[in-house]
């Protein structure tokens, strides 16, 4: 029986092979998976907001794209992951509700995706695949055995990326 480790909103977790990491019901949030292809050490962070710099209350690092990814990488390196063997896969960043005047707040999904990509680029972690945007929720599962990321939806099918 393989452990399935749940990662909540604004939270992160990691596992050694053959653990499975999951986060349920991603909306405008983004789920970022880091995977070390050599040791198969895997990590998942569920971020809610793009930047810790724009917010007063920013003590929870896993809440923001900029600090969450860095924190996840640090934890994985402590576990023995090889920094240069890390790859990433991301999912989420949907716009759940539509309004004619798309204010900043309604486009939070897109901003989360942009901030995530920027942080990954800064850290030199290649982004190998993504399933982002749209207007629907996603549940994701990261299999450390293979590095496969399974994306499940209601009404939009299931896919592996």
């Amino acid at each position: 029986m393989i452990d399935i480790i749940k990662v909540g909103m604004a939270d992160l977790n990691t596992t050694y092979c053959p653990g499975v990491l999951t986060t349920l019901g991603l909306g405008s949030c983004v789920g970022i998976c880091l995977y070390d292809v050599s040791t198969k050490i895997s990590g998942l962070v569920h971020i809610m907001l793009p930047s810790s710099l724009q917010i007063k209350n920013n003590s929870n690092e896993a809440k923001f794209a900029d600090t969450g990814i860095v924190k996840l990488m640090e934890v994985m390196i402590k576990m023995g992951a090889n920094r240069r063997k890390l790859i990433s896969k991301i999912a989420g960043g949907a716009q759940m509700f539509n309004f004619n005047d798309s204010s900043e707040i309604m486009r939070i999904g897109m901003r989360n995706i942009a901030a995530t990509k920027e942080t990954l680029k800064k850290l030199n972690i290649p982004l190998v695949s993504e399933d982002t945007g749209g207007n629907y929720g996603r549940t994701i599962e990261l299999y450390s055995e293979t590095g496969i990321l399974l994306v499940k939806t209601i009404g939009y099918g299931t896919k592996q990326i």
């Binding site: 349920l24 019901g25 907001l49 759940m96 996603r138």
Partner: protein
């Protein structure tokens, strides 16, 4: 900088609870007029919760729910979100359209009826808020989505997330005869609006 939910004292929370109570009472009256039947309501529960515990309240993050979202404008800015689980949504549409559908999926008619319910709920809540505070408040047309609870809830949670790590949720049970409908109502004032709101209620 605005204050966040976790900084509220017990008196401020009580005042917000009371507004929830009055608003839900008005909503029950409005619904009851609309369908010409008596609607009972339990005293609403006001919960202040951590983000990660919110989806559990509506049956877990993967449960399919209906979310109805409104923007609030006027003297304060903010958003209102009503979340109804799919089972309750079906009961509500049956009640409103006086029929007995057991169909799992909601059609266009159902969705538009639910938008109307959302309108009534948020309108009632806002008008009691406006009366009590003397603030001028208007509410936008609703936007509706049916999807995983986690994904829907992420929207109000992100809005709250800009100022803190907790959310305020008003849970109300409506019933008519054997029908019981649970609705979850989030009021999310924008950053500085909380302060204006509490000030005009005389508790800041």
């Amino acid at each position: 900088m605005g204050i966040s939910i976790e900084e509220l004292n017990s008196m401020q929370i009580d005042v917000l609870k009371e507004i929830g109570n009055i608003g839900a009472g008005n909503a029950a009256t409005a619904l009851s007029k609309m369908i010409s039947k008596r609607i009972d309501m339990d005293v609403p529960k006001v919960n202040i919760l951590e983000f990660k515990n919110v989806p559990e309240l509506v049956g877990g993050p993967e449960t399919e729910v209906v979310g109805i979202y409104f923007k609030v404008n006027g003297d304060i800015g903010g958003s209102i979100m009503v979340i109804i689980d799919k089972k309750s949504a079906r009961k509500l549409t049956n009640l409103l359209m006086d029929r007995n559908s057991e169909e799992d999926d909601l059609d266009e008619m159902d969705l538009s009826a639910l938008q109307e319910v959302g309108n009534i709920l948020s309108g009632s809540y806002l008008s009691s808020l406006s009366t009590l505070t003397n603030l001028n408040l208007t509410v936008s047309v609703p936007s509706l989505a049916v999807d995983m609870a986690g994904a829907i809830i992420s929207v109000p949670v992100i809005l709250f997330g800009q100022v803190g790590d907790k959310v305020m949720l008003i849970e109300t049970y409506f019933s008519e005869g054997t029908y019981h409908v649970k609705s979850n109502f989030f009021l999310i004032p924008h950053e500085d609006s909380f302060e204006i709101l509490l000030k005009s209620l005389g508790v800041f």
